[in-house]
Every structure is written in structure tokens, then in C-alpha cells.
């Protein structure tokens, strides 16, 4: 694939792109209403034609892999099919062309949608209260920890630590820090679960919460979950569940039933809203009744047949979003849940888990399996056997690219050497999984007989491996304007 120039390189002085609307009003000369010092003289934007802009972004798009191109088994990311009907509903004018400041009387449909979505998420997770305000999972985590702190505070307690298993996603400890907490790492037990003894020892009076991931990032359901929760609660701390992996549990278990206190959901994972090359997502927060007073404000409430935004509350942790979160994605997630219904949700979990186990069973001859037991929606393999042949997990990943498949998540969870974290999701067919298995086996053979094929990979991608070191040492993060621009 050829180099695509920067949009700036498609610029030519005086060239016009898309025309703005015809002026509706007699123009007001800016210099008559604004001091000269407030006005800019230069506006160094490109000047490209409409056709060149269209072609540029079209050709760039061709350099991307996507769910709609082929399998995208990124562990922890739930790269399931993004239903096309969601894109239709999110664009219904009455749901897209509405302004966040319009009176609630003129946005009853939007408020009802949020209210109903929160109710559906409550039904699915078992928690009595949900807020869809957080813009993504990480922001949900922040809200969750702040709510827990507020709850402790409401009981006159000050707690300053949070326990985070060493297998956790990086955002968990990062959120701990943003919440002003000291992050204490918990080692993982041999079976991939939590080490109860270690947990007990760590549960001092300063511990505000533990952040669990369920199923864990190892793709395993914590067998001692009830004991864990009991211990934590006995120590006066709260159980936060990172719900990024909810896809494994739909209709199979409601996390609230286990005794979890608070949990975030990644609507862009479990509930099919697209990832968009990195975002936007939507990260709902679900809590038990005792934490409800602390949820972000404003909350959508129902008064009889009408919906409203509840006024400022003394207990709430406050706002985390300018408005009501990533509403467009709430429309998509709502569409998805209504499209599947209760049965479909459970079917999704079932197929997601079956698909992952099928990969586990089919690949365990060729790759090491650090935790050899039934997994949930994802399976973590290790490239340790291949490392002995001088081939790293990175090489395996890059070789997958040559076969047109996106690599799994690699080197995470960090506690697994040479980790390959594979999440097929329920929307891959058996044929698609068989193709993946076939390619993975071929790569295992290549690692033995032709390791350089892996070292040199990818060769069939728009670019080969990149020089990331220089990129970090001498960051070039914007096009530097040429003089005269």
C-alpha cells in the first residue's frame, strides 16, 4: 500500500473545499465589534478540495483493520459485531438533533430512553441503581471509587487505600491514584484466583475497597468470590467490580447477587457500541442501594408519566460529564438490549464462553496454557514455549497480521509471561474460529521451522514494524508548519 500524504500536503493556496452555507444576514465586520487584538491574522489550516479530502480519508481507512473486515480477538476488548441497526437508531433526528440545554419537557423521549436503559442495566446486573453518565469505563471507575469514599465519609470513616490484584487492567490502579488512594497490589494465587490469606492480611482498617475484575483478566471466574466478598465486607471495605468482562455473565449471573457493591459496565464492549478507533465509549455505573445517594448528578427520574432531571443533591459525588454522558452510545446500547431480549443476552454470553473454550481446547497442544481450566469469555495463552525457540509473543502477534487477523492482546495480564489474551466474542462463527486455530497452528509450526518469518512479520501490512524508540525519544506529534503557511 502506498504512502498517503498528510492532509496538509494536499493543500494548495486558494483552493476551496466544501462551501459554507450562504450568509443569511447582512455581514457584520468583526473588526467593528471586536478589538483588533482579539482577532487572529493567520489561520494555518489546509486548503484542500472536497474530492481530495474524501479520497484522503477513504484511503486512510483502507489502512485499518476493523471488526467488519475480519476477526479481531483482542482480549479484554469484546470486539463483537457492531449491529448496523444501532447506527440507524443513533441517527434518528429526534435522538440526534437534540440539544443538551433544551427544557426537559422537550426531551421526554431522550430522558425515557436513559431511564429505561438504566433500568435494563439494573435488571441485567442485579443492582438497584445505575448511572449512565460516565463517558467510559475508566470514568465509571473513578465515579465508583469516589462514591465509595463518599459512603465511608458519610459514616465518618476515612480510608485511604485500595487493593488491586496484580492481574488488573492498568486503569484500576490509575483510578485509585486519581481518587487520592494508595494502591496496594494483591498477588494472584496459583489457580489464577485471589489468594485469600494474602487478602485477609492486606485488609487493614485503611482499606476503602478492593477492585476486582470478574471474570478476571485471566478469563477466569473467581471461584472463591463469595469468600472474598465476605472478607472484604467484614473489614468494612467495599467491593468494586470492574465489569469490562460482563459479556461472560449476561443471564448467567447478576454480579449484585454475589454481594458486589459497585460495578462499571463498558457499554462499548458488552453492549455492542462501536469502538470508533479508540472511542467514544460509554461506561455505566451500577451500585447497591447504600451507594445510590452518591451517584453522579443529575439523575434522570420519573414522576408519574413524565421524566425529569433531579436537582442538585447534597450527597452526590457531583457531575463527571458536561451533560448526560455519551448519549449517542446510550441509544446504541439501548437498541442492542432491546434487539436481543433476555434470551438473546444469555445466548450471547453462552456463545462467547463456548467460543473461548473452543479456542482453549484447540490451541492448548501448540501453546502453553498457564491456567488449565475452563475459562470464561477469553483465554490467556503464553508464548513461553515459542520463546525458547527464540520467538517472542510480539513476533507471533505480528505474524497473525500477515494472515489478515488482528492479534490478540499481548503481554497482558502482566503476570503472565508472553501472554496472548484471546477474546473471540460470540459473533465469530465456528468457521472463523477454525480459521484462527489453523493460522495459530501454522504459526506454531513456523516458529519451529522458519522463525525468521515471524521475526520479519508483518510483510503483508501497509507498513512493517515501526521505530517506536525514536518516536518516543524525539516525539513528532504534529506537522510542523512550514514558513509562509
Amino acid at each position: 500500500m502506498t504512502d498517503e500524504p498528510l492532509i496538509y500536503d494536499l493543500s494548495s493556496a486558494g483552493r476551496r473545499g466544501v462551501r459554507p452555507p450562504l450568509p443569511q444576514f447582512e455581514p457584520v465586520d468583526p473588526s467593528t465589534v471586536l478589538p483588533a487584538s482579539e482577532l487572529r491574522s493567520e489561520l494555518p489550516l489546509p486548503e484542500a478540495s472536497e474530492i481530495d479530502v474524501m479520497r484522503h480519508f477513504l484511503r486512510l481507512s483502507h489502512k485499518n483493520h476493523s471488526v467488519d473486515t475480519d476477526m479481531y480477538p483482542l482480549g479484554s476488548c469484546t470486539m463483537k459485531y457492531n449491529p448496523k441497526v444501532n447506527e440507524v437508531t443513533a441517527r434518528i433526528p429526534g435522538l440526534a438533533d437534540i440539544h443538551p440545554s433544551q427544557p426537559t419537557e422537550t426531551a421526554q423521549g431522550a430522558l425515557e430512553l436513559i431511564f429505561e436503559l438504566e433500568a435494563l442495566l439494573a435488571a441485567i446486573t442485579g443492582f438497584p441503581a445505575v448511572s449512565t453518565q460516565p463517558a467510559a469505563g475508566s470514568q465509571g471507575e473513578l465515579c465508583g471509587l469516589l462514591s465509595i469514599l463518599a459512603w465511608h465519609e458519610s459514616r465518618g470513616e476515612t480510608r485511604t487505600q485500595v487493593l488491586v490484584p496484580d492481574s488488573a487492567h492498568g486503569t484500576n490502579p490509575a483510578t485509585g491514584t486519581m481518587s487520592g488512594l494508595e494502591v496496594i497490589s494483591l498477588p494472584t494465587a496459583d489457580d489464577g484466583g485471589i489468594d485469600l490469606q494474602n487478602l485477609e492480611e492486606s485488609l487493614g482498617p485503611g482499606v476503602a475497597a478492593i477492585m476486582l475484575t470478574l471474570p478476571s483478566t485471566l478469563g477466569l471466574f473467581e471461584r472463591r468470590i463469595l469468600e472474598v466478598i465476605e472478607l472484604v465486607h467484614a473489614a468494612g471495605a467495599q467491593v468494586y467490580c470492574d465489569g469490562a468482562n460482563m459479556n461472560a455473565m449476561l443471564g448467567r449471573v447478576r454480579p449484585a447477587d454475589l454481594g458486589i457493591d459497585v460495578m462499571h459496565l463498558n457499554l462499548h464492549k458488552t453492549f455492542s457500541t462501536p469502538h470508533g478507533g479508540g472511542g467514544p465509549g460509554a461506561g455505566a455505573l451500577a451500585v447497591q442501594a447504600h451507594l445510590e445517594p452518591f451517584l453522579p448528578e443529575p439523575r434522570v427520574v420519573r414522576n408519574g408519566d413524565a421524566f425529569a432531571l433531579a436537582g442538585s443533591s447534597a450527597t452526590s459525588i457531583g457531575r463527571v460529564h458536561s451533560h448526560l454522558g455519551n448519549f449517542g452510545n446510550l441509544v446504541r446500547a439501548y437498541t442492542y438490549i432491546r434487539s436481543l431480549g433476555a434470551e438473546g443476552l444469555r445466548e450471547a454470553a453462552d456463545d462467547a464462553v463456548l467460543n473461548a473454550n473452543y479456542l482453549r481446547a484447540s490451541l492448548s497442544d501448540d501453546y502453553d496454557l498457564p491456567y488449565d481450566r475452563i475459562c470464561m469469555h477469553e483465554v490467556v495463552l503464553a508464548g513461553t514455549r515459542q520463546r525458547r525457540l527464540g520467538v517472542r509473543t510480539l513476533d507471533i502477534a505480528k505474524r497473525l497480521i500477515d494472515y489478515g487477523i488482528h492479534p490478540p492482546t499481548i503481554y497482558f495480564p502482566i503476570i503472565v509471561d508472553e501472554a496472548l489474551m484471546i477474546e473471540p466474542t460470540e459473533t465469530e462463527s465456528r468457521e472463523s474460529l477454525d480459521n484462527f486455530i489453523d493460522v495459530m497452528r501454522r504459526i506454531a509450526r513456523e516458529a519451529e521451522s522458519e522463525p525468521d518469518k515471524l521475526h520479519d512479520a508483518p510483510v503483508n501490512a501497509p507498513v512493517r514494524r515501526l521505530d517506536e524508540v525514536t518516536a518516543n525519544r524525539r516525539p513528532n506529534v504534529r506537522r510542523v508548519p512550514e514558513s509562509g503557511d
Binding site: L6, P20, P23, Q24, F25, V33, P35, E38, L39, L43, P44, L45, P46, V53, F57, K63, N64, V67, K80, H99, Q102, G109, A110, A123, I124, L146, H169, G170, P173, G180, V183, G251, S272, G276, G277, G278, G279, G281, P296, F327, V331, R338, S339, L340, G341, L354, N355, N357, A361, M376, T427, S429, R430, V463, E468, A471, N472, P475, V477, R479
Partner: protein, 451 residues
């Protein structure tokens, strides 16, 4: 129905391969008494039915097509060319993940790099990240950055900064050792509203980590930032500038040229209709010295093994997935697709197009003010403004807005009581290049009728 392709025959064969009898056997780790709850979720709706249901919900909302609207207050209805949504609907963009495998994501990465470049050009800054959630959290992260940088506790924030941004900043800093001080930046003088930077200047001291101002500010005013910037410099505080409407940068001096250390803002209006406030995208741009403290993703330019130009996520050691509890922020998923939309809009409009829509927005607002004045309204704003101004409503903004909507069929603006209680007789009116003469006529006649 779950979009899962497998048939019962597929499942049976796979279960055999796994060596279990039934799917239930895969869920044995779940405590048995909590297994297999009944979900209170209504049955599946096929496409046609779910679309009908959502259309019915949509029909219960008023849109800018159904009522002339002068709502702004941080979210503006701007012209987004038709090609933008046609690009955003391309699967290669919207169904891709974060570009962690750069060889398979050069499209997203180059678009991010171009986005960052455009933001730098617009703001006059050196470095932009690839977005934060929205304008509000971008401000919160800016404040956290300054706190980490200066290790000073105080933040001086003008009350003319978007009130929701101030609230979110308060939430983000609530568990940390930060003293947020909201300082009045505008004064009421009878029915008029004027800027007053003096309280801001006086609030800045040697314990101030940063000072936050907005341009155009939430009240619509475009105020000379020099006194505040100078005071900040004097005390070693950083200057954070919130951009009120990114389109204003087509006309107004770049914040970087005015002394900003960090520039934040909301970019939604460059990418699509307001969507009830989200997804938007938080702009976040800094001077080059701050690059390693920036939260969120940054794309960088590099070369591949063959020396070919290429792009990659860079400086990832700032981020949570590498640095964990020592990361610059916990942000992971950002608002990539919205920034792609903004990137395409800016590319398609180009230099002249952006300037023109900025000028048209300015003209529309000033002509709307004239039309209101002509029917006897008192324009409160007594300062230069871009595309938003305040009108005095003696009976109170809320009551007047209600009548303007019910009796006049226009969404005339936003009640400024949200900024400070003493402003609750002011209505904030916004106009853009999409405001038509008919809209303004409707507003003026509604005002006259509800006088």
C-alpha cells in the same frame, strides 16, 4: 437472537471438542445459588420493530427542525459537511479498536496525527493529545496536570467558565488536595453585564497552581486576557484557557498567542448534531514542555523498518496500561471517532471555510441582538462578543423562556441562573451560520408577543 452465527450443530461439535456435555458445564465456577437468574428484560425486537420503537421515542423530543433554536452554552449547531458522516459510517473507522497494533491501524493513527496538528494550528499550541471525554473532563485534567506540575494547592477559576466544567473539575479534584476558588469575572450593573477581571487578578497568589479562563466565556463575552495572564506569570501560576466554541478560533486570536499554557474545549460541534450532549470530544493542547505530563493518547510520526513514513501511539509510558498507578490519568477509551469527524470537517472547510462560518456566526448573533433590541428587548451584554449574548428578562429567565417556547414556539436560549443566582434574569442567546433569518424573525416576534 444475539448476532451469534453459530447453529446448534456448531455448538454441539464445539462442546465435544471442549470435552463438556453442555454449555451449562462452562459456568460451573459461578456459585450455584446465584446461577442463571431470570432477567427482567423484554423479549427480542427485530430491526424493524426496534427502529419503530426508537422513532417513537425520538418523536417525543423537540429538534432544531421542529422549533427554531438559539441554544448554545457550550454546544453549538454548526455546519458539518455531508461527507463527514459518510466517512464516519465506514466500517474501517467505526468498528476499529484503539490502534495498539500500528501495522493494522495506520488509518486511525495518521488521522489522529492530523487531528493533533489541526488542534495545534487552531489553538497556537505545540502539542495536542488525541482527545479526552469532553470539554469538562478536559478542564479537570488540565487542573490536575497543573497541580502535579506546580504542587500548589489553589486553583483560581472564573465564574464565567462553563458551570458544568467547573462542577466536573470539582468532582475530579474532590478526593485530592485541591482548593478550587471560583471568582466572579462579570458584574451586573442594572440590566447590563460587564466583564471585570480585577477579582481574578487579585485572587492569584503564590499558592495558585493555575488560573482558568474561558474565551468566548460562558456569558458570550470575549475579554482581554492580558491582565490575568500577567498576574499568573508574576506568581508562577499556569494559564488554562477554555475555548467556548471551537469555531470561534476561525476568527479569534489563538489562545497560544495570548499566553495559554493549556488549552481545552469541546469539539462536538465540528463533528455532528448535538446528540443531547454526547458523545463530544475534549480538546487538550499544551506547550511542548508539558508533553510528558499530558493525559491520554498521542500519535507520533515515525518510520518503519524500510524507512517508510508511519504513525504510532507514542509516549505511552504516560498511560495507565504501562504506568498503572503512576500514569498521568486513568483515561483509556477516548472520543476518537468524534475527533475524526472534527478532523474531516476542518479539512473540508479549510482555512477560508472555517473563517467564513465563524464570521457568519458572529453576524448572525449580532443581527439577532439587533432584531431583539428592535422589539424592545434589553441586550444585557456590554462587552465584545462572538456568537452569544445575554438578554434581560425582567420577569426572570426561566419564566420568560417557558413563555417563549409555549406561546412563541422558539427555544430562545439558556437561563443564566446556572452561572450564578443573580444572573437568573438573563437569557443566553446563541446563533451560528445555521441560524436563518426566519429563525431570527421567529425569535423577535415571539419576544414581542411575550413582552
Amino acid at each position: 437472537m444475539s448476532y451469534a452465527p453459530n447453529t446448534d450443530a456448531d455448538r454441539a461439535a464445539m462442546l465435544r471438542a471442549v470435552g463438556v456435555e453442555s454449555i451449562d458445564d462452562l459456568f460451573v465456577d459461578i456459585p450455584v445459588r446465584h446461577r442463571d437468574p431470570t432477567l427482567d428484560v423484554p423479549p427480542a425486537l427485530p430491526e424493524t420493530d426496534v427502529i419503530r420503537h426508537l422513532q417513537a421515542l425520538g418523536a417525543r423530543n423537540v429538534t432544531s427542525e421542529s422549533l427554531p433554536s438559539f441554544l448554545g452554552a457550550g454546544f453549538y449547531r454548526h455546519f458539518v459537511p455531508a461527507l463527514v458522516d459518510q466517512q464516519l459510517l465506514r466500517s474501517e473507522w467505526y468498528t476499529a479498536y484503539t490502534p495498539y497494533q500500528p501495522e493494522m491501524a495506520q488509518g486511525t493513527l495518521q488521522a489522529m496525527y492530523e487531528f493533533q496538528s489541526l488542534v495545534c494550528d487552531l489553538t497556537g499550541m505545540d502539542v495536542s493529545n488525541a482527545s479526552l471525554y469532553d470539554g469538562a473532563s478536559a478542564l479537570a485534567e488540565a487542573v490536575l496536570l497543573c497541580r502535579g506540575l506546580t504542587r500548589r494547592p489553589r486553583v483560581v477559576i472564573a465564574d464565567s467558565v462553563h458551570p458544568a466544567y467547573r462542577s466536573v473539575t470539582a468532582t475530579y479534584t474532590s478526593a485530592l488536595d485541591v482548593d478550587l476558588q471560583v471568582v466572579p469575572a462579570a458584574i451586573r450593573d442594572g440590566t447590563s453585564l460587564r466583564p471585570d477581571v480585577q477579582p481574578m487578578v487579585e485572587a492569584i497568589d503564590d499558592q495558585t497552581s493555575c488560573v482558568v479562563i474561558q474565551r468566548p466565556d460562558f456569558l458570550g463575552m470575549v475579554i482581554d486576557p492580558d491582565p490575568v495572564v500577567e498576574a499568573a506569570r508574576e506568581h508562577g501560576a499556569r494559564v488554562v484557557v477554555v475555548v467556548g466554541d471551537p469555531v470561534s478560533l476561525g476568527l479569534l486570536a489563538a489562545p497560544g498567542d495570548l499566553g495559554a499554557d493549556i488549552v481545552v474545549g469541546e469539539l462536538r460541534s465540528l463533528a455532528g448534531p448535538p446528540a443531547y450532549g454526547g458523545p463530544g470530544a475534549g480538546m487538550f493542547a499544551v506547550r511542548s514542555q508539558l508533553i510528558r505530563r499530558v493525559p491520554g493518547r498521542i500519535a507520533g510520526r515515525t518510520v518503519d523498518l524500510d524507512g517508510k513514513n508511519a504513525f504510532v501511539l507514542t509516549l505511552q509510558t504516560r498511560e495507565q496500561h504501562i504506568r498503572r498507578e503512576r500514569a498521568t490519568s486513568n483515561i483509556t477509551t477516548n472520543q476518537a471517532l468524534v475527533t475524526l469527524g472534527a478532523t474531516i470537517t476542518l479539512s473540508a472547510l479549510g482555512r477560508r471555510g472555517l473563517r467564513e462560518i465563524a464570521q457568519q456566526s458572529l453576524s448572525a448573533a449580532h443581527r439577532a441582538a439587533e432584531a431583539l433590541a428592535d422589539v424592545g428587548a434589553v441586550i444585557a451584554t456590554d462587552a465584545p462578543y462572538f456568537n452569544e449574548f445575554a438578554v434581560h428578562a425582567p420577569e426572570g429567565a426561566a419564566a420568560r423562556l417557558d413563555r417563549l417556547r409555549r406561546d412563541g414556539s422558539v427555544l430562545a436560549g439558556v437561563d443564566l441562573g446556572c452561572v450564578a443566582p443573580e444572573f437568573d434574569d438573563l437569557i443566553l442567546v446563541a446563533a451560528t451560520e445555521l441560524t436563518t433569518t426566519e429563525d431570527v424573525e421567529a425569535l423577535a416576534s415571539a419576544w414581542a408577543r411575550t413582552q
